[in-house]
């Protein structure tokens, strides 16, 4: 079973290759796969027929099944089971599938580039249907169900250039997935009630479920909605005629033989257990017969051959579902036979239409004339199929229909007479549209029509039709070949009965009914031109499609109205809305439900906290009202440095260290990035806007209120009580926070460094904006005193002449290189003290950063702090020596550092896996080196963090520093830095 399923999907995947090599003859190759599956299925028939369908999977003599675990936690398993129902439908899927694929080889043009993908979808579809009917797990069935919807969408929309195809595909998708969603709700309800998602188990406990009453009624009704939407019953029927925009082989396969049978299959599957539920009969029998009549009537009004068939299919699907809906064993028997018969004749008819369209260029019966003479073989095979559809004796369709009448006559419910009459009328309409189809296609029209220029189809093109028609003929004469399958399945519904499929059952009531329907049908056909009494009726019927259109339109309008009101384009407005929601909902909940309130208050843990708090508050308030931009920035920094003090006093040395370093680097970045922005942009911003202020204050109060309640609500001891021991004995480190970052919560940290790398990439992309990141600039390629000319002069007009002169002398002296690229700067920009101090400090700071990194496991520090310290060292070099100095001091590109860091961190995770341990397992290696030392493997991860952080800082300096320097070079600092007027002449000008 699984081999067939897998083979179909693998074939689908390899289609592009096959078709590149063989062009359209590739269809012959892929047709082999379902054909082989078909033969395999025939060999399995004895096992299927000898099994007892009521047994659970795995029991001896249960139907063949495959079971695999998939998601045991959700009770979902890859269970497949082939009982007689699945096998019967599968015969159609694989048999018709093989023939349709075979047919495609002559239907499409050889040079059509799309056929590879087309074949892939067709074969994948066969696979999905195979999975659908054999799945025993109803969730798995649902997954395949949805796959068929998606493939149907893709196949209907095959002619992407045509608006009809796109629109029909979308309609079909919306309707079938809508039905699918409704069905999913039903499936989940039923599965939850049954305590199992295995169809066989759900059906085994059906009696208990039905006894639950309304719950099960609703669940089953929801599932039926899915089934009738898939099988195109009223009121969902209109998607199927629309789906005729698909290439005809698709219509023959998906929309006649296979996909629309999924709904039939599901009804058949559930009928043995749930036919007694309250909504079953009205939704299957009632809607089914209504659909049969509407479809049959609409078919009589069509001129497009394909649409006649499409409405005919709608009608027949209604018919079959109604019969399965009867719920008796005779009905199950007859309906299964009817399903097979329908698959055979409808596929033939569609393929025939395909040939007519292919060879004549039209499907309009008002244009076709005399085709019967040009294509006698086609006319004969099509005639057999149409006669089978109409219910002409000795053909399989007739045999099946007789069995249906027999079943309907034996019904003993209140509505049985109505059902019988409905079916009779439906059959008469079927007769009539069969005639309309056949004579429309092949007859000679009274009105003189221009003779069609066309050739007869080749035999190989016809071959699939011949096979299908032969089957219709053969099974009509020897129906006992498929009888065992139908009998075996009907046994599930209270059989075994005495039903038989017979080519001629004698002169009985069923035969009389057949005669009546044939006679009526001939009348309908004869009367077809007379009157259009059905016009009001037709208006009523088309309204289903109109209601759909209208509801889609209403949805569109509502969506646009809401979008127009809410998405006004202003980010501040959006943020305001979000914040109001954030304010109102938690506050409403907090105020309406009980909120605990703490009993134990303290003013502060330490008197100094009061002072620090006051400083932070002052900083925050002044940041809002500061008249100058840099003052505001500095005030925010004040709050940051205040946080450093709070962390230090509260017993959080790591935080204090990290915040201190970050605050410093942020301040430098701010100055670098915002130096270009003119002062005037800050004017008028400090006026207090009271609306915003009230919202902001309310939000802050709400957060604090909830925080207080949260702290008061605490009942358990904190989770981190176990951390000290975990850190020391399992993580081999004394610094609990650091061990948490690189070991206990290492995934968080890994996620974080990837975010850092994304941010670094973003910074570089925004600043370089399409310009090349460039090669590294070397100091000896740059003319001395050329960098930063005119932009950031230390000495302005008021600066003393002597000062400048000393600076110039220092700058031009070649033997006092404190920095590698110090002399590339213009004299005004240089500072001897800064250069000397930088020279003295740089290496010390670097060594300190490595020390902080390596000892971070036991003392405050670690990768973050170490990386930031190293970044500060770079910052000093850049500030002292300019951008050439930066590129000289760090010869590795930031991308390399960041990528290398992430790779190293990842390696620290993967290597333990290779050693057979869990991911990110930590090892400790003890060694002696002037004392006992421990090397802990999570340090490698920390080195990765160090590199990423260093890379980030380097990227910030290079982007916000160097690149902005070179963009603003030669201009006043507040000029626009447009690329357009930029006159960069490159280095060394």
């Amino acid at each position: 079973m699984l081999i067939i399923l897998t083979a179909l999907f693998v074939t689908a995947l390899s289609c592009p290759l096959i078709f590149r090599a063989l062009k359209r003859n590739g269809f012959y190759v892929v047709a082999v796969v379902p054909a082989v599956g078909f033969i395999w299925l025939l060999t399995r028939m004895p096992a299927v027929l000898s099994a007892d369908n009521s047994l659970a999977n795995g029991a001896p003599n249960a139907p063949p099944s495959v079971q695999m675990e998939w998601i045991p936690g959700l009770n979902i398993a890859l269970n497949f089971r082939m009982d007689s129902l699945a096998a019967t439908i599968l015969l159609l899927i694989l048999g018709v599938g093989a023939l349709v694929l075979f047919y495609c080889a002559r239907y499409f043009k050889n040079d059509d580039p799309q056929i590879g993908g087309f074949a892939a979808k067709m074969v994948a579809f066969a696979g999905a249907m195979t999975g659908l009917v054999t799945a025993d797990d109803i969730i798995i069935m649902f997954i395949f169900w949805e796959i068929t919807s998606v493939l149907s969408y893709l196949l209907i929309g095959f002619s992407q250039a045509l608006i009809t195809a796109r629109r029909s595909a979308m309609n079909a998708l919306i309707i079938t997935t809508l039905g699918g969603l409704v069905m999913l709700a039903g499936i989940l309800m039923l599965g939850a009630a049954a305590g199992s998602y295995q169809l066989s188990e759900i059906l085994a406990s059906a009696d208990a479920l039905v006894a639950m009453g309304t719950f099960t009624d609703v669940a089953v009704a929801l599932i039926i909605v899915g089934a009738i939407s898939k099988s195109a019953l009223v009121p969902f029927h209109f998607w199927l005629p629309g789906a005729m925009a698909a290439p005809t082989p698709v219509s023959a396969y998906l929309h006649a033989a296979a996909m629309v049978k999924a709904g039939v299959y599901l009804i058949a599957r559930l009928a043995p257990g749930f036919a007694e539920t309250a909504l079953w009969a009205p939704m299957t029998v009632g809607i089914g017969i209504l659909t049969m009549l509407i479809g049959g009537y609409r078919a009589l009004k069509q001129y497009d051959l394909k649409l006649i068939l499409a409405f005919g299919t709608v009608s027949q699907l209604g018919f079959i579902i109604a019969v399965f809906g009867f719920g008796t064993h005779e009905a199950a028997f007859a309906a299964l036979a009817m399903t097979l018969a329908h698959g055979l004749f409808k596929a033939t008819l569609f393929l025939s239409v395909g040939i007519i369209d292919h060879n004549t260029g039209t499907r309009d019966i008002r244009k076709l004339t005399g085709l019967g003479r040009v294509m006698p073989i086609l006319a004969t095979t099509t005639g057999i199929a149409a006669a089978s559809m109409a219910g002409v004796p000795l053909l399989f369709g007739f045999v099946a229909k007789e069995a249906v009448y027999e079943a309907a006559l034996h019904l003993d419910t209140g509505w049985s007479l109505a059902a019988l009459i409905g079916i009779l009328l439906g059959a008469a309409l079927t007769m009539a549209y069969s005639l309309r189809f056949f004579f429309g296609a092949f007859g000679v029209k009274k009105k003189k029509l221009p003779a069609l220029q066309c050739k007869a189809p080749t035999l190989i093109f016809l071959a699939p039709l011949l096979v299908l028609s032969a089957a219709t003929l053969f099974l009509g004469l020897y129906p006992q070949l498929v009888e065992p399958l139908a009998i075996h399945w009907s046994a599930a519904q209270g059989g075994p009965g005495k039903m038989h499929l017979l080519p001629f059952a004698g002169f009985n009531a069923a035969l009389g009914l057949s005669a009546i329907s044939v006679g009526l049908g001939l009348c309908f056909f004869w009367l077809r031109h007379r009157t259009d009494t059905g016009a009001p009726l037709r208006r009523m019927i088309t309204s289903a499609e109109e209601i759909y259109r209208m509801s889609v339109n209403v949805l569109d309008k509502a969506a646009i109205w809401i979008t127009g009101r809410t998405q006004r384009g202003s980010l501040s407005f959006y943020l305001g809305v979000i914040l109001v929601v954030v304010l109102v909902i938690p506050l409403a909940i907090a105020l309406t439900v009980y909120t605990p309130w703490p009993t134990n208050w303290i003013i502060a843990d330490h008197p100094a906290q009061l002072l620090i708090g006051a400083v932070i508050i002052a900083g925050a308030v002044v940041a809002i009202t500061a008249p100058k931009r840099f003052m505001a920035v500095l005030m925010v920094s004040v709050t940051g440095y205040g946080m450093v003090a709070i962390f230090a006093l509260q017993g959080a040395p790591d935080l204090a260290l990290t915040q201190l370093l970050v605050e410093t680097i942020v301040l430098v970045s701010f100055v670098l990035a915002l130096r270009a922005l003119p002062k005037r942009l800050w004017v008028g911003l400090t006026k207090i806007k009271w609306g915003r202020a009230i919202l902001a204050i309310s939000l802050a109060l709400m957060v604090v209120y909830i925080a207080i309640a949260m702290m008061a609500a605490r009942t358990e001891a904190r989770i981190s009580l176990a951390w000290p021991d975990l850190a020391y004995y399992d993580g081999f480190g004394k610094n609990i926070v650091n061990v948490a970052l690189v070991d206990m919560r290492v995934w968080d940290t890994f996620g974080e460094i990837t975010v850092l790398s994304a941010a670094a990439t973003g910074v570089a992309s925004l600043i370089f904006a399409g310009r090349s990141f460039g090669n590294r600039v070397r100091a000896h390629h740059v003319a001395p005193g050329s960098i930063d000319a005119g932009s950031e002069a230390i000495g302005t007009k008021d600066s003393k002449e002597t000062e400048l002169r000393i600076a110039r002398r220092f700058a031009s002296s070649s033997n006092q290189d404190w920095l590698m690229a110090g002399n590339t700067l213009v004299a005004e920009r240089r500072s001897i003290i800064f250069e000397v101090v930088t020279r003295l400090m740089f290496h010390t700071v670097l060594i300190m950063s490595v020390y902080t990194l390596l000892t971070g496991h036991n003392t405050p520090g670690g990768g973050f702090a170490g990386g930031l310290i190293a970044g500060l060292a770079l910052t000093i070099r850049y500030l002292a020596g300019g951008r050439v100095e930066l590129s000289e001091s760090m010869r590795i590109a930031p991308g390399m550092l960041i990528g290398g860091g992430i790779a190293l961190a990842g390696l620290a995770g993967i290597v333990p896996l290779l050693l057979g341990d869990g991911i990110f397992t930590t090892y400790a290696l003890e060694f002696w080196f002037f004392g006992e030392h421990k090397f802990v493997s999570s340090t490698i991860f920390d080195i990765g963090v160090y590199l990423v952080v260093l890379g980030l800082v380097q990227d910030v300096l290079r982007s916000l520093g160097s690149e902005i320097d070179s963009l603003s070079e030669g201009r006043s600092p507040v000029d626009r830095h447009d690329e357009i007027q930029s006159s960069r002449t490159g280095v060394g000008r």
């Binding site: 369209d357 292919h358 039209t362 889609v552 339109n553 309008k557 979008t563 127009g564 998405q567 006004r568 384009g569 501040s572 703490p598 303290i602 906290q609 009061l610 708090g613 508050i617 925050a620 940041a623 809002i624 505001a632 925010v636 946080m643 962390f647 017993g651 040395p653 935080l655 990290t658 942020v666 915002l674 270009a676 911003l685 915003r692 919202l695 902001a696 204050i697 939000l699 802050a700 957060v703 604090v704 925080a707 904190r718 989770i719 000290p724 850190a727 020391y728 610094n735 609990i736 926070v737 970052l741 974080e752 910074v763 570089a764 600043i767 904006a769 973050f864 980030l952 626009r976 690329e979």
Partner: protein, 149 residues
Amino acid sequence: MSVNITFLVVTGVLLAAGFYLVLERTLTRVLLGIMLLGNGINLLLLTSGGRKGAAPLFNPEVPADEYSDPLPQALILTAIVITFAVTAFLLAMIYRSWTLTSADELTDDTEDIKVSQKTAYDEEEDSPVAEDTTEFVDEEGRPVREGEE
């Protein structure tokens, strides 16, 4: 647990100032607001860890509940570094926006405004189309036939 009033007041002020600034249209002020919010929330996390304790450096003599809570500390450490990355990113954005528009302002999104003024009519869904009675036509509707058969 005992609640530190000073911390709560400071948190409140930082958050109020932060929310106020992020609601502005000037990008630089939005960024400052985000930084203040970051500090405020970090302080809130720290407050939720309880009273001050020993620095979380393992010492076998110290019982586990005498350390200051390391869990919020790990969270805050991550938050500090992420805020740095976000700040750098926003700074780059401010600079970029300045080079493009010579302004430090959020402007309304013209695409959004266009969407809000759209009508319900959609070419793809609502335009009337003629029905085809054959697949074998080219884009202009002329019949195409295969030569070889």
